[in-house]
């Protein structure tokens, strides 16, 4: 009896590896009209209540977590993709829970998380708004190999909506990109809103290279307003170097 349960578990885990040859993108694109569902494992530290609430904790806590009195499930990430005239027009995500039983959606089942993440990031620039936000965050919480290069391209994509680029920047800051490499990506020519977001995201990393970059922005950026934003975040830092910089600026 125990063996049969174990075999069933293995069979259930197999689908996304055996279907790897057929990309998520092709399978989604095959649906011209309607809704496509897919799911994939969430990365460690992510859980949700199945109803849209998602918790992301970098500390991988042991034991059961709760969200509003409900168990915070550690996966899967469930994504619903709206399709119209052969194009993806909407994206929504959930962590945990189950799909409603009665639906005419095309269910792709469990897919490879890296492929799913790449697909979601590829549609983000064109769908914009909340849909892009959902697509990017759904990609960011996938138990995928690094998506930092795709996020970087999205941040630097001048044709994408600024809000979408800001979302990508936020998740890039939260990704496994090295702090030095991340800090190097700051670009003074980007729109104000994006540079403003940079000051926030750099501050969230709380690492030496990102702090140095924040100080450099506060000291040298050509835009006084951006320098002021950088200063605000330096004030929130626990690093004595940040506070020393502020004191020096006031007194020099």
């Amino acid at each position: 009896m125990r063996w049969s349960v174990a075999v069933l578990a293995l069979v259930a885990a197999a689908p996304f590896s055996s279907l790897a040859a057929q990309s998520v993108a092709r399978r989604v694109d095959a649906v011209r009209e309607g809704t496509v569902r897919l799911s994939y494992p969430a990365r460690p530290g992510v859980c949700g209540n199945g109803d849209g609430g998602v918790s992301i904790n970098s500390r991988r806590g042991d034991g059961v977590q709760y969200w509003g009195g409900r168990i915070c499930e550690t996966g899967p990430v469930r994504v619903s993709i709206g399709r119209s005239e052969g194009r993806t027009i909407s994206v929504r995500k959930w962590v945990g829970g189950r799909w409603p039983s009665a639906s005419d959606a095309t269910d792709l089942g469990s897919v490879d998380p890296t492929e799913a993440a790449h697909y979601l990031l590829s549609v983000a620039p064109t769908i914009g708004g909340r849909n892009a936000n959902e697509a990017i965050s759904a990609a960011a919480i996938a138990d995928a190999t690094t998506i930092a290069p795709e996020l970087t391209r999205l941040v630097q994509n001048g044709d994408a909506p600024t809000d979408t680029r800001k979302d990508a920047l936020f998740w890039l800051g939260e990704s496994d990109i090295l702090a030095t490499e991340f800090a190097r990506l700051y670009d003074r020519s980007q729109p104000f809103e994006l540079r403003e977001q940079w000051t926030f995201v750099l501050a969230q990393r709380q690492e030496g290279p990102t702090l140095d970059k924040l100080i450099e922005i506060a000291r040298n950026d050509s835009d006084v307003e951006i320098r002021k934003r950088a200063m605000f975040w330096l004030g929130q830092s626990h690093d004595p170097k940040a506070l020393q910089f502020l004191h020096d600026l006031i007194l020099r």
Partner: protein, 267 residues
């Protein structure tokens, strides 16, 4: 020529006269309010710098570029999107809502006085009578009323009320809102006393210094209050000193009162 108000003996004479008349004067306004059956507006002379439009904002309480919304008591600086009427020097008008013989709310205006209305009773008060009445409110038990009487008191064309506001700010038994308002105006008074009011737009360097002070002010209180106290006393740039005084005044920390007393030369 020395101004009358700059002569210490003249100021002392005014203070003595005001003190001597306080009980009767306060009673007079308070008595009239206690029998009022409708809102009462108390009108009295305003300090020389202050102006307003008589209905929505008050500006230049000191010789600076700050404005206060009279509806929401917000503080702001006049910007390019300014769309309100001209700031006119005129009397201060405190409209008291009276309920069952008790004052329940004060609203304050400066500038043109609206036409007389039968809906509102009017008291044209002397500065001494008005300040005596407002002093009794600031020192009274009604915490909300006390806090809302601080600005009307500061606006009066009378000797600065700093000694009274220092007592209020240092009194741990008083409500936080009145202590905070007292500290806020003590800070503004200190800035004016030091002659470092913001009269025009800051240079970019000044803006950045002010922002750096603000950033420090957002640190946990155990760090920010000592840092702001130090900067309020020692910062050499007016923008940094002014900003430190302002953010220190917003902390509600009683130690700020000692700093302001020093800056005002009152300790």
């Amino acid at each position: 020529m020395t101004s009358f108000f700059a002569d210490p003996r003249a100021r002392l004479a005014i203070l003595i006269a005001a003190a001597a008349s306080t009980p009767v004067a306060a009673q007079t306004i308070a008595q009239r309010l206690s029998t009022a059956d409708r809102p009462v507006q108390v009108i009295y002379p305003t300090r020389q710098t202050a102006c307003g439009d008589g209905r929505s904002y008050i500006g230049h309480v000191f010789d600076d570029s700050y404005y206060f919304g009279t509806d929401d008591n917000t503080m702001y600086r006049r910007g390019n999107d300014w769309s309100r009427g001209p700031c006119v020097h005129g009397p201060t008008r405190v409209v008291a809502t009276v309920f069952g013989g008790e004052v329940t709310r004060l609203r304050v205006y400066v500038g043109p006085v609206p036409p007389v209305s039968s809906n509102v009773e009017t008291i044209n008060a002397s500065t001494a009578d008005a300040t005596a009445w407002l002093t009794s409110l600031v020192t009274g038990d009604n915490a909300r009323l006390a806090a809302s009487a601080v600005l009307p008191l500061v606006l009066a064309d009378a000797p600065d009320p700093w000694p009274l506001l220092l007592r209020v700010a240092r009194d741990n038994t008083r409500g936080m809102s009145v202590r905070r308002d007292a500290l806020m105006w003590l800070g503004q008074g200190a800035v004016a006393h030091l002659g470092i009011e913001q009269k025009r737009d800051d240079t970019p360097d000044d803006e950045l210094r002010s922002q750096a002070v603000f950033a420090l002010s957002q640190r946990p209180k155990a760090e920010s209050v000592p840092a702001l106290m130090d900067l309020a006393k020692t910062a050499k740039y007016p923008s940094a000193k002014r900003s430190a005084i302002f953010w220190l005044s917003q902390t509600g920390d009683p130690r700020a009162a000692d700093v302001f007393a020093d800056l005002l030369g009152l300790r």
